[in-house]
């Protein structure tokens, strides 16, 4: 599987990853070789085989809708890179600010 540099750049954009030019070069090569290996799957006839997303035989686990205490705000904010007393702080997201 040959990936072009612009394919790799597109995937990096989708993944929200800023990559240096040498990282893009290396990933172009390495993703190509990993996808080549993965092509082995095409040997397998999977006609009519139900996909298996999970090994646990459980579906839609519900609990009773009972209110319980949540994480205190101070603890929730304690690991934030930037926070006020009440909020997570992020850069402006509207144009023209």
């Amino acid at each position: 599987m040959q990936l072009t540099l612009s394919d790799v750049e597109k995937v990096a954009r989708l993944a929200r990853l800023k990559l240096a030019p040498e990282e893009l070069d290396r990933l172009q090569r390495q993703l190509g070789s990993i996808l080549d290996y993965v092509d082995l799957l095409n040997e397998v006839d999977t006609t009519g085989v139900a996909p298996m997303a999970h090994a646990a035989d459980v579906l839609n686990v519900f609990r009773d809708d009972v209110p319980t205490a949540s994480l205190p705000r101070s603890q929730a904010l304690a690991n934030a890179p930037k926070a006020s007393e009440k909020y997570f702080l992020v850069p402006p997201i509207l144009e023209g600010n």
Partner: protein
């Protein structure tokens, strides 16, 4: 002779017979770490103060005759992707280098409820992605049997800590072999329970349909003890099976009568290490000739596609799970950016290392529009065929035995620039995660160069008791688990 040369069960006897206090046991573990970890580098941090305080509390309980937990006074090291309130949990990543979880994982709650002593955080491949610990953003860890070699990964720090006699017990997590392969490389016991047997609450997610927590120990009996304590239903993990906790320790010394062992008719790895092959054959002969087992060749035709399916499914799930690291709620935030999107991109670009980026990129590609059917859907179908292969095989046999890893520990750096070759190291362990089955690695030999060789036993889902009994039969008949690294 140090207390740290004893197994967990032996230490418990010493503690209950008052030959040793929890404080003495903990001090012994800490002094071993002090004298040995500068060479091994298994620990990212240790909690001397917390461990000594916990040990003193447990000793006071013993003195006052209060009921004691099943792990009373036993040191346990924790892989650094499992949350312990009051500690950091970094996943050996720059992304989480200053993250302190606000709650305990289910397993750390269980350990503390049973009076274990948590001694420190151990190294891993960043976000548990790797087979060597070389992907840690913090440090390399070295194999206690040969300091030039890797301890394996991703739970290499926990495995090396147990193998070097710095703790009798440790926790790891296993997504594609990350408990069993380092246990094999380090000559100890590593158990990956059935998917859903142990709650993943508080385990930092890598690939949620594959991740499972499990113990490291030097004996099978110790692994049974840990499984009993860690297993059981937890409503905070919706994939936790609603079953009573395991009771493996009670039955551990009963051999499985007429044990039927399945052996793959064709090896999964062509050109595997000849010493590994010879040791596994010798182990099978022992089961047959001395332990009353019968061997049966079985066909598992789809297992050879395990690695290919895994390297679509695991990165796909990882790319989704790791999308949460956006520099907003917790984790690394870049200092220089001009808008929100750039903040995401720069924070993630700076916070993640090479292997994590590689897997996020593969997963993003295989899940992206136009490629989903060809890769992700196809891989999930092959996963079903692999699980069906195991189901059919277990109609004929009680356990399946394979090598844990096709080769013994490799030299640090040897496979660093060859991701596909590194991935193939997991050929025997990955199919087990895809099918969600329990499996264990136990020591079964040493190479001429003095490196451990691991034997993998696989059982049907929720049959940990049988799995551990079958492993214990071998352990009782051999002395491989008593071998210790010559380095120390």
């Amino acid at each position: 002779m140090s207390l740290m040369d004893l197994s967990a069960c032996e230490l418990l006897q010493k503690f209950h017979s008052r030959e040793a206090s929890a404080l003495e046991i903990t001090q012994d573990a800490l002094s071993r770490i002090q004298s040995r970890d500068s060479q091994v580098q298994a620990f990212l941090s240790r909690d001397e103060e917390g461990a000594l305080a916990a040990a003193a509390r447990i000793d006071r309980k013993r003195e006052s005759g209060e009921p004691l937990g099943r792990l009373a006074g036993l040191p346990v090291a924790i892989k650094d992707n499992i949350c312990v309130q009051g500690w950091k949990a970094t996943c050996a990543s720059r992304m989480l280098e200053s993250f302190s979880p606000p709650y305990h994982a289910h397993v750390t709650e269980r350990l503390q409820a049973e009076d274990a002593v948590l001694i420190g955080r151990t190294n891993l491949d960043e976000f548990a992605m790797g087979s060597s610990c070389e992907n840690s953003a913090v440090q390399l860890t070295y194999n206690p049997w040969n300091l030039q070699c890797s301890p394996g990964g991703s739970s290499g720090g926990s495995a090396a800590a147990v193998a070097a006699g710095m703790t009798p017990l440790a926790l790891g997590s296993d997504t594609g072999g990350s408990i069993r392969q380092p246990a094999s490389f380090c000559g100890i016991v590593g158990l990956k329970p059935t998917y859903g047997r142990i709650s993943r609450y508080g385990l930092i997610a890598f690939a949620s349909s594959l991740d499972q927590i499990g113990p490291f120990s030097r004996t099978v009996s110790d692994a049974a003890l840990m499984l009993d304590v860690l297993s059981g239903h937890d409503r905070r993990d919706s994939t936790s099976m609603n079953l009573p906790p395991a009771e493996a320790h009670r039955t551990i010394d009963s051999p499985v009568p007429g044990l039927k062992i399945g052996v793959l008719s064709t090896p999964l790895v062509v050109g595997a290490d000849s010493e590994v092959e010879a040791s596994v054959s010798a182990a099978l002969q022992m089961y047959q000739n001395e332990l009353g087992a019968t061997l049966q060749e079985i066909q598992l035709p789809n297992l050879k596609y395990g690695i290919a399916a895994y390297y679509v499914i695991a990165p796909s799930e990882a790319s989704s799970n790791l999308a949460r690291y956006d520099g907003v709620h917790y984790g690394h935030r870049a200092s220089s950016f001009s808008n929100l999107t750039e903040m995401y991109e720069a924070s993630r670009g700076e916070g993640f290392g090479d292997e994590v980026k590689r897997r996020i990129m593969i997963g993003t590609y295989t899940l992206s529009s136009g490629y989903y059917d060809a890769y992700y859907l196809k891989a999930m179908q092959v996963r079903r065929l692999i699980a069906d292969d195991f189901t059919r095989a277990f109609e004929q046999v009680d356990v399946i035995i394979t090598p844990t890893s096709p080769s013994p520990a490799f030299q640090t750096g040897a496979l660093k620039d060859d991701p596909v070759r590194m991935y193939l190291e997991d050929a025997y362990t990955v199919p087990v995660n895809l099918a969600g089955l329990p499996a264990i690695s136990i020591p079964c030999g040493l190479t001429k160069a003095g490196l451990p060789i691991g034997l993998q036993l696989i059982a049907p889902a929720y049959q940990e008791e049988r799995l551990l009994q079958a492993a214990r039969m071998f352990e009782q008949a051999t002395a491989w688990h008593q071998q210790r690294p010559a380095t120390f």
